[in-house]
């Protein structure tokens, strides 16, 4: 078990030590595992110097942050609607939303690109965000979680004269905090790691997200792996922090996203 885990972890370790090496060290024969100087941060300086990497990080943080928040807002509203109300089309609408899980993003990407282009949103934050504002997983997760909130609480609040939005804010949301945390963290990580859509809509360097920024270190004839690995470390660290802080919720999200099939 431990040996397997170490094998799985090794590529990360190898990335980290390479990011601390100079080019001659990388090419040295025989190979040394450890870098000559553990405090050599030149590669990191070079990453930020050669590309606007700070800007990439900022772009990714902004886009992932907005997508997480908007996803939580829209999903929890919809989850409440589906879980605690009956209205004409209730079943059909929910079935349609779950059905979207079967539509691969790649199957809608061309028309979506044309729409974003027609609306003049290419190379803008809104354009990058367009398909990431809400996820089906979120609606599903929130519906499941809100369903188990006792309806008595809602009725009691109604008798006290609370409006529907007030019930949503004051009764529903506080009872599903773990689900909200799961959704925020999982959605943030998904959007942060995404490549396909940003690759299509982003043109200018200043609008690049981290995944695109990483690729810009490989588009050269000779790949400088000391820089690639340093950039990879920079791109992974924020998500690693999110993952370690929210591990419990991430795992919950994976189990649920697996269950949704």
């Amino acid at each position: 078990m431990a040996a397997g885990a170490l094998c799985v972890f090794f590529p990360f370790f190898w990335m980290a030590v390479t990011s601390l090496k100079t080019v001659p060290e990388i090419q040295r024969v025989p190979l040394h595992i450890a870098p000559d100087r553990w405090t050599n941060l030149d590669n990191f300086r070079e990453v930020f110097h050669r590309q606007p990497f700070a800007r990439f990080l900022l772009n990714s943080a902004l886009i992932a942050g907005v997508s997480a928040v908007s996803s939580v807002v829209v999903s929890s509203l919809a989850g409440y609607g589906f879980a605690k109300f009956r209205f004409p089309g209730h079943g059909v609408f929910f079935f349609a939303i779950v059905g979207i899980l079967m539509v691969p993003f790649q199957s809608v990407v061309v028309p979506l690109y044309l729409w974003v282009s027609r609306l003049g949103l290419l190379d803008t934050y809104l354009g990058i965000l367009a398909p990431d504002l809400v996820s089906v997983f979120g609606v599903f997760l929130m519906r499941q979680s809100i369903e188990v909130v006792p309806s008595d609480y809602i009725d009691a609040a109604r008798i006290d004269g609370a409006g529907e939005l007030r019930i949503f804010w004051g009764v529903i949301l506080p009872s599903v905090k773990p689900a909200l945390a799961t959704l925020v963290i999982v959605k943030f990580m998904w959007t942060w790691n995404e490549l396909f859509w940003p690759l299509i809509v982003v043109n200018s360097p200043s609008m690049k997200v981290v995944t695109l920024g990483l690729l810009s270190f490989t588009n050269m004839y000779f790949i400088e792996y000391n820089l690639v690995t340093a950039a990879a470390v920079v791109s992974i660290l924020p998500i690693l922090v999110v993952f370690l802080v929210g591990q419990k919720w991430v795992v919950r999200g994976v189990v649920l996203s697996g269950l949704k099939g």
Partner: protein
Amino acid sequence: MRGVLRLFAPRSYMDRQRRAGLLFVLPALVYFGLVFLVPLVESVVGSFHRIVPGGESRFVGLRLYQRVFTDSTFWQAVANTVSLLLMSVPVTVTLALAVALGLHRLRSVMARSAWAAMYFLPFSVSLVAAALIWQWMYDPLYGFLNHLLGLAGLPPLPWLQSLELVRPSLAIVNVWVRLGFDTVIFLAALQAIPADYYEAASIDGASARQALLRVTLPLLNPQIVMVTILELIFNFKVFDTVYATTQGGPAGASQTVIMLLYDTAFKFFRLGDASVMAVFVFASLLLVTLVQWRLFRREVEY
């Protein structure tokens, strides 16, 4: 009809409830309609139309399908995708099952979640980062894997540069990325199996092996089917790892369906052909999902 009208002019408490529910779900419905349903219909429509010079679109029936489906590049990409998928899916699922069974046996919850986190780590980073880390591991001159081969007295391998090795090499990356995800699902399922079952099995004199084969695996069957399907879907859509490393090369040996779709649409701007591929991908995955539903009919009761 009267029901619909009442939504706009609610008269009773029930009417107001119906309207409130609909208003709560409305933003999500509008969003998914605009971002998924409308483009999906447009993809299907687009696959029957050709944009003629001047920007006009003309109905051409099945001609684009004919063109794409008789193109050897397309079938090469399908074959590559399937071969990649046949290499990585069984390995990922089997390894994940083994790892989950191993982790499940650990007594200490702390140790279990620490090791599980280690396995899960590759899943939490971007596929681009994962692919680049591995490209460096695979580097023909200074890569770590060839260094290991050298220590064993073996000649270096041209991992991502060779026609034969490029797909297995990419499959390894996919396995590495997905292993933790599947493990977590299996582990959750294992923990949900009531301990009584094993007690009953051991009272009946079952060996550990028999308990595994007769109790654990049958009970995990739904998860095994589901994880296999999820892996099929993931591997069918593989793009990021290929784009970041080989871009489909060498000589198209790692060109996958989605890579080809991307190139067709956004490099060569043949949007009609790309729409045909989009419909193909949708139909293929729909088929997989329908098969999943059929298999899931035989659910296991706890």
